[in-house]
């Protein structure tokens, strides 16, 4: 009896396990997909690039202060690291940039792999270009970083660090491959729609890849014995025929920004206004810096009213600034000091610049001045200033007047052309990309009179030359990061920073 029962029981249960095989097959994720078409990743990744590089608050929170565009007012605790340059591996500048850019690179790695498999060569080219974009920033911030073993998930849990210069050289090769792909690719309409930067315009992608490559090459301008390499690589750019980003060109992101929380233009959402039209907290935390404002004020620059707002005194013409690092009083707030202007804070759905025409023209001006690309440096330079005026909502005529009348802008009035180009590039980049001027400063020590913070907490009177590796690396990839030696933000320079 007992045995019989056990047999019956066993048979019952095994039949449950065996014949109703589907009973346990309920592990398909009802919440999230586990595979999507490359086009969906492309759209997400391009938008994330904008949100984690040129449109991100971290791109401005320290560099805009160090480059004397903006300054934090009174009544706001903190900003210790920014104001004193004394930051640690836990500081957001060290941690956020690394995390966000590698996160973005995962999507481009997925995109490249999936698009290769599906034969969507346009996407492969975009993935390679955007990887170069992201990695250039990683190298410029951190120097040696994981590259060859990066973004390979469990294959390399502790990716080794590659030499910064080796990465740079490979990026150049990747961009060559990308431009070749852009030459031959065909773009399906659906794929063009997914490309929220250029809508499948291969010429635009070619220009962007070329300009990015030129930027990478120009970065190495001060390295001894590097000129031949740079020239040879520029020759390859010229050969592909796409040219560079010219006036009215440029790469901009706009997925269709909405006036909804989390869906506004990222720069606007941090430094502009909330969904209900009230200004954000950070809007009040970033006010005009004296050096940046005075350059406009003292030289009758019509961009003054575009980069900065007048104060709220009823006159509509008073501009007030704070000296970088000064002790500030409680009454020095957004009511009494100028804030970020409407030339860069245009609307909740403004295009987010990735690379503007004026940045490209300044790069070309410098390259031409060095004799590395064909064309007249002056023409590039003046086109760059003009393009900046137009971007800010001013007219070409106003730009012409400025370029003619102001000694700080007039080509002929300045003997040191490089200093002129870089100073005007610095003036133009305010509020669209504050990292490039910091990088130019590290490379060329220009503008030479860039003020150092006068805060009492400053212990090393020098603008940092890099970010520190994030604390998470010391926790999760310790051997490899420690192998990079002791890193100091004032002395451990990036390979191209030789001065």
């Amino acid at each position: 009896m007992k045995k019989k029962l056990i047999y019956i029981l066993a048979a019952l249960v095994f039949s449950l396990g065996a014949c109703k095989k589907g009973y346990l097959d309920i592990n398909e994720n009802p919440n999230s997909p586990t595979a999507v078409k490359p086009a969906l990743i492309l759209t997400g990744a391009l938008n994330n690039t904008a949100a984690s590089t040129t449109g991100s608050s971290i791109f401005y929170s320290f560099a805009a202060l160090w480059m004397n565009y903006w300054m934090t007012p009174g009544g706001v605790s903190g900003w210790y690291e920014e104001r004193s340059y004394n930051f640690t591996t836990n500081w957001s500048g060290s941690t956020t940039l690394w995390a966000n850019i590698y996160d973005n690179l995962t999507d481009y790695a997925y995109l490249e792999k999936q698009s290769k498999a599906s034969g969507q060569t346009f996407f492969v080219g975009v993935a390679k270009t955007m990887k170069a974009w992201d990695y250039q920033y990683l190298v410029d911030f951190y120097g040696n970083v994981p590259y060859t073993q990066a973004n390979q998930s469990v294959n390399f849990l502790n990716p080794k660090y590659d030499k910064a210069q080796d990465i740079y050289e490979d990026l150049v090769k990747q961009l060559d491959t990308a431009t070749n792909l852009f030459k031959t690719a065909t773009v399906a309409p659906a794929d063009a729609a997914a490309d929220i930067y250029a809508h499948g315009d291969l010429q635009k992608w070619g220009e962007f890849a070329n300009t990015l490559k030129l930027r990478i090459l120009l970065r190495q301008s001060e390295m001894p014995g590097r000129e031949a390499y740079i020239k040879a690589e520029i020759a390859k750019i010229s050969a592909n025929g796409f040219g560079y980003i010219e006036t009215d060109g440029g790469m901009f992101n706009n997925p269709g920004y909405l006036n909804t929380t989390g869906k506004q233009n990222p720069f606007w959402s941090v430094y502009g206004y909330g969904v209900d039209g009230t200004r954000t907290a950070s809007h009040g935390y970033m006010l005009a810096s004296t050096y940046g404002m005075d350059f406009l004020k003292n030289n009758n620059d019509p961009r003054l009213g575009k980069f900065y707002n007048t104060i709220n005194d009823g006159a509509g013409s008073t501009y007030v600034s704070l000296v970088w690092g000064q002790e500030v009083n409680f009454d020095q707030t957004i009511s009494t000091v100028s804030s970020i202007g409407e030339g860069v804070l245009k609307s909740f759905d403004q295009d987010q610049p990735i690379m503007t025409d004026f940045e490209s023209l300044f790069i070309q001006a410098e390259a031409a001045q060095r004799g590395w690309i064909a064309g007249d440096a002056r023409a590039y330079y003046e086109a760059a200033v003009k393009a900046n005026f137009l971007y800010l909502g001013l007219t070409a005529a106003e730009a012409d007047t400025y370029l003619t009348d102001q000694s700080v802008a007039n080509w002929d009035a300045n003997a040191d052309k490089m200093a002129l180009i870089i100073k005007q590039k610095w003036a133009a980049m305010n509020g669209t990309n504050d990292i490039e001027p910091w990088t130019d400063y590290r490379r060329l020590e220009l503008p030479a009179d860039m003020p150092i913070s006068i805060a009492s907490t400053v212990t090393t009177r020098k603008i940092p030359v890099r970010m520190l590796y994030p604390q998470r690396e010391y926790n999760t990839n310790a051997a490899n990061v420690i192998a990079q030696g002791t890193i100091n933000q004032f002395t451990s320079r990036i390979f191209w920073d030789v001065q």
């Binding site: 009896m1 029962l5 029981l9 066993a10 249960v13 449950l16 346990l24 309920i26 592990n27 994720n29 009802p30 919440n31 999230s32 997909p33 586990t34 595979a35 969906l40 759209t43 997400g44 990744a45 391009l46 938008n47 994330n48 949100a51 009544g75 605790s77 690291e81 004394n86 836990n90 996160d103 690179l105 995962t106 999507d107 790695a109 970083v145 990066a150 973004n151 998930s153 469990v154 849990l157 502790n158 990716p159 269709g256 909804t260 869906k263 969904v275 209900d276 009230t278 009083n329 409680f330 707030t333 009492s456 907490t457 212990t459 590796y469 998470r472 926790n475 999760t476 310790a478 051997a479």
Partner: protein, 1036 residues
């Protein structure tokens, strides 16, 4: 309701009075033969009737009986005695001890199977419902604290919904990231641990704790963490009785962190570095209190200031918190006859929190019963609990504690008053805590249903077949309310920080959480005796289905202010949905063989199918074996010993395979990228977590050995165990931390091995002292030592983050606390900058050791004399550290005690050194910190360095203290004979706490969550409380 209860009482009184009239009162005293001590709790029954009573604490009883009646006196461990009633009015009885009957006591083990203690080869400990509820906890887990060796109960928070924030761990941690909390079994059915707070503690007959993994064959893998078997009350088979209990408990703030009382509000410093007073500052870096009359807040619209003496206002912050009240009312019925029993209880708990405005209630209804229908026995229990919460979601503790000492905070309680209204509240950067309580609120209703029904059929007397179905559902519906507020033009234009946005629009979030668990069991139990062998064979099968669903939708910028409906919004609805479904199947067998009633071998095995793993890995088998030998039954010297009355040796070994991951964790997901969709434009991004599609179960091998010994007729008992558990193939459920450069930040894989070991003992003396006048002193001591070690992780990884600064570090016990720290020289002295005198931050975190206690000691004691019982529970824990994240905030605001220790002046950093050349450190004797005021204490170099806020987590707590009075049965018989029993008690919980001197912050039990990461707090939890009150019970 009250009227109904009253009339019920009257009815019962009438019924009882009739029987009373026919008899006379007999009083007596029952003592034990061996020690002559009175025995409380002896059942005195008039044979052939349902009339019964029990002896009081002094062994005395009163019963009305007629001459010729026979009194049957019975008590566990004594031979039942019949005493005929003659004409005497006093009847004293001496009961004879019986070792045989003592061994007939049974323990409820897995699946409700009752077994004799001598047959059990693993560690168990039982807590009776009475012991559990002596201090009237509203959550049953808190009533277990200190009462079971090896059990650690942690109450993570004290706000109104604190009952849901309890962590329950037996024998420490095994799994790095998987669940380590004990399994909860209610009336034989597994229910989720989050149902703990919906069980009325007063319904509990007993809680039996299986400490090890040996029950896993019958309950499944979750039992690897030990099991809490909760049995609810069944009706008694002899007649009916009704009892009513009221408990009213108050809870009050017990203490705050230590604060400075010398300096007032301010943030700036003069040219000499001295703090300057700012009337509207949230920080406290102003100048020293001088008693002068000073303005507080910004200038008002009428051109005046509130003027307040510049002194420390003692007790202002403490007075912000109110006295919370928990009022429990229970009415229960217990009754039945030989064909069935019924137990009904209705409980209502009304609570008012100590955070002003917080309130909640719980209504619980339970009906349990048994019915005999022919050869079938049906047993059912059904419980419905509804809870309603209304609480503040503002970080109110932060606002209160960081208020500068010169501020008369309680004056601002009226939000319409001149200085209390939000426009003119003194603080520029934080809203008034009173305003915060009103502006940000959450309401939630939870409906819990627990039920099970079992049918047992006995075709022949050696075989029983049982089918059982059980369900538990939890349904929470909640709503977050953020109220609108418009600041005045004056406040907005004044530059007041909080009024920067003039019109703060209202927003709403709705959510619904549903969780259910269905269990079906089939069990066949065969019991046969062959000569000296007794066999019990159980075969069974089990089906479990778990479903979970969570939906939330949020609407911002409501159009009509404070109309909290999603339709009343502008912009898109922000919402999400999460669903989890899983199924498990199992067959199991369990054989117990007992030889000659002294040696028991128990073997079990379980084969499981789990839908959460792929088809290659989801079928797995795990076995267990344990042996128990009662030496006092076989060794003649022991058998005849007058000293040793019981000696049992036991040992067991078991393997458990567990699936720790949630469903759908085998493949990485791709999710909508941040911000998407933008209208019709979709964009996706690869998730930051990677997964192993071939994930295997996590395996734990547990071994334990122990012995139980009883002395002097088991007046003194000692139960001990040692255990060793090795967990391999750990499922890293939240993912091991990866370098972001891998493209992912976490990976869910099988990796790593841990070892967890310890020993525990439970020593009970009942009584330590017992006198013939009825005085009894009982003591129980529960001690456990637990330690664990990480034997392996993954590849080159040396550690794994659990979040909240907790890490699993190779070669160390886990989780250990690692936090940012300063650079130190080889002697551990802090290195300061030679110019600034400031400590230099280290890029490497410092490891402070484990966050779980090594030592847990619980001491229970009770003194009974006459009708009074004084009892208490104390608990000690040590061996762990904790990080007070809150203290960093206190330094930032300048309210912390530490921040005033250097007099707010530049100082030489204590025990610091200066590096003169690489590797050469000289003591710093003259370089003072470049700043000494707010710019030192509130800046990153201090507040971001968490090692400044780590302290010992050791404590002694007086968990429970109660003084109970049992109204004498004689008195009731004479004055209110319709009342069978009545008692009142004064009770207190967590009345006293003793901490090491370095812990100037808070109760280390308070924690950010109830997960594996422990030992970290912040200002989202509310401060510790003391609970005290009274309780009264009347039985009819």
């Amino acid at each position: 309701m009250k009227k109904l209860v009253l009339s019920l009482f009257l009815f019962l009184y009438w019924g009882l009075s009739l029987t009373h009239a026919q008899s006379k009162n007999i009083t007596g005293k029952v003592i034990a033969d061996n020690d002559g001590l009175p025995i409380p709790g002896v059942s005195v029954l008039i044979k052939g009737t349902k009339k019964a009573t029990v002896t009081g604490a002094d062994g005395k009883f009163t019963i009305s009986a007629s001459p010729g009646d026979i009194l049957q006196l019975s008590y566990i461990g004594f031979i039942t005695q019949d005493v005929p009633v003659g004409n005497q009015a006093v009847l004293n009885v001496k009961l004879i001890t019986d070792a045989q009957t003592l061994s007939e006591v049974t323990v409820t083990t897995a699946l409700g199977i009752k077994r004799k203690p001598k047959e059990i080869g693993y560690a168990t400990q039982q807590v009776t419902g009475k012991a559990l509820t002596s201090s009237r906890p509203t959550n049953l887990a808190t009533g277990l604290s200190g009462k079971v060796a090896g059990l650690q109960i942690s109450q993570a928070n004290n706000q109104i919904d604190a009952g849901d924030q309890v962590r329950v761990v037996l024998r420490g941690n095994r799994s790095f990231q998987g669940n380590n909390q004990a399994l909860l079994v209610l009336d034989g059915i597994i229910v989720p641990l989050n149902q703990l707070n919906s069980i009325n503690p007063n319904d509990i007959e007993s809680v039996n704790i299986l400490k090890g993994a040996n029950a896993a064959a019958l309950y499944g893998s979750d039992a690897a963490n030990g099991v809490m078997i909760v049995s609810t009350k069944r009706g008694s088979a002899d007649g009916g009785s009704v009892s009513y209990t009221n408990s009213t408990l108050m809870n009050r703030l017990s203490y705050f962190p230590k604060m400075q009382t010398e300096f007032g509000g301010g943030t700036t410093q003069d040219d000499f570095g001295f703090g300057q007073y700012t009337p509207f500052e949230n920080q406290t870096f102003g100048d020293r209190f001088d008693g002068s009359l000073r303005p507080v807040g910004r200038i008002l619209q009428d051109g005046t200031y509130q003027m307040v003496p510049y002194t420390y206002k003692d007790g202002e912050k403490e007075s912000f918190f109110e006295t919370g009240i928990d009022e429990q009312n229970d009415i229960s019925y217990s009754g039945g006859n030989e064909n069935g029993t019924t137990y009904i209880n209705v409980q209502r708990v009304n609570s008012k929190g100590y955070v002003p405005g917080d309130k909640s209630n719980r209504t619980a209804f339970r009906i349990n019963g048994t019915r005999k229908i022919g050869k079938f026995l049906a047993d059912y229990s059904f419980n419905y609990t509804q809870r309603n919460y209304d609480k503040s979601t503002n970080q109110v503790y932060n606002n209160v504690i960081n208020t500068p000492g010169n501020i008369p905070l309680t004056e601002y309680s009226d939000l319409d008053s001149k200085y209390g209204n939000p426009n003119d509240f003194y603080n520029d950067y934080y809203i008034s805590p009173y305003f915060g309580l009103k502006q940000y609120r959450n309401k939630e209703r939870r409906d819990d249903l627990l039920g099970n029904l079992s049918l047992t059929y006995k075709p022949v007397d050696w075989l029983s077949l049982m089918a059982r179905g059980g369900l538990s559902t939890k349904n929470s519906q909640g709503k977050d309310f953020n109220y609108a507020y418009t600041y005045s033009d004056f406040a907005h234009d004044s530059g007041k920080g909080v009024a920067a946005t003039q019109y703060n629009r209202s927003s709403v979030r709705d959510y619904n959480e549903f969780e259910s668990r269905y269990t079906g069991d089939f069990l066949a139990t065969a019991t046969k005796t062959f000569n000296q062998f007794k066999f019990t064979l159980i075969g069974g099968a089990q089906v479990i289905q778990k479903n979970y669903k969570y939906i939330t939708a949020q609407g911002n910028n409501l159009v009509v202010d404070n109309l909290f409906n999603l339709s009343n919004r502008t912009g898109e609805i922000v919402g999400s949905e999460l669903e989890r479904n899983s199924r498990q199947l199992a067959v199991f067998g369990d054989l117990t063989a007992t030889y000659n009633d002294f040696l028991t071998v128990h073997v079990s095995g379980r084969n499981e199918w789990d839908s959460r793993l792929n088809s290659n890995n989801r079928v797995f088998f795990y076995p267990a074996v344990d042996i128990a030998a009662t030496l006092t039954d076989v060794i003649p010297a022991l058998k005849e010993s007058k000293v040793i009355s019981n000696l049992k040796l036991r040992g067991g070994i078991s393997k458990v395979s567990a699936v720790q991951v949630d469903p759908y964790k085998l493949i990485s997901t791709i999710n909508p990228a941040s911000g998407f969709p933008y209208g019709n434009t979709a964009g996706y991004t690869v998730d930051n977590q990677i997964n192993d599609p071939n994930l295997k179960p996590e395996n734990t091998l547990s071994k334990e050995l122990g012995f139980d010994i009883g002395f002097l007729n088991n007046r003194i008992t000692l139960e001990t165990s040692v255990y060793l558990q090795n967990t391999k193939n750990q499922q890293i459920v939240n993912g091991i931390d990866l370098s972001a450069s891998t493209g992912f930040t976490t990976a869910v894989i099988n990796t790593g091995e841990s070892e967890n070991k310890g020993f525990e003992f439970s020593l009970n003396a009942a009584p330590v002292i017992g006198l013939s006048n009825g005085f009894r002193w009982n003591v129980g001591i529960n001690y456990s030592y637990n330690t664990n070690k990480v034997l392996g992780l993954y590849g080159d990884l040396s550690q794994l983050g659990l979040g909240d600064n907790n890490y699993v570090v190779l070669g160390q016990s886990f989780p250990s606390l690692q936090v940012s720290t300063y650079q130190t020289d080889p002697q551990g002295r802090v290195i300061v900058d030679a110019n600034t005198g400031l400590p230099i931050a280290s890029p490497i975190n410092k490891d402070f050791g484990q966050t779980n206690p090594n030592h847990i000691l619980g001491v229970n004691t009770s003194f009974t004399f006459k009708n009074f019982t004084l009892s208490g529970v104390a608990e000690y824990r040590s061996g762990n550290v904790f990080y007070s994240g809150m203290a960093s905030t206190l330094d930032f605001s300048g309210i912390s005690y530490t921040s005033a220790q250097a007099g707010r002046e530049r100082f030489i950093y204590p025990n610091s050194v200066i590096q003169t050349s690489p590797g050469v450190f000289v003591p710093n004797t003259n370089v003072t910190t470049i700043q000494g005021n707010g710019s030192f204490w509130s800046d990153g170099i201090r507040t971001n360095t968490a090692s400044n806020y780590v302290s010992s987590a050791a404590f002694w707590k007086i968990r429970e203290l109660s003084l109970a009075y049992q109204v004498p049965a004689q008195w009731l018989g004479a004055h209110a004979s319709f009342i069978k029993n009545a008692s009142i008690a004064l009770v207190g919980r967590n009345l006293f706490m003793f901490r090491p001197s370095d812990n100037i912050y808070t109760d280390p039990e308070i924690n950010v969550g109830t997960g594996n990461a422990q030992g970290v707090n912040n200002l989202n939890q509310t401060p510790p409380t003391r609970i005290y009150g009274f309780t009264a019970t009347i039985g009819f």
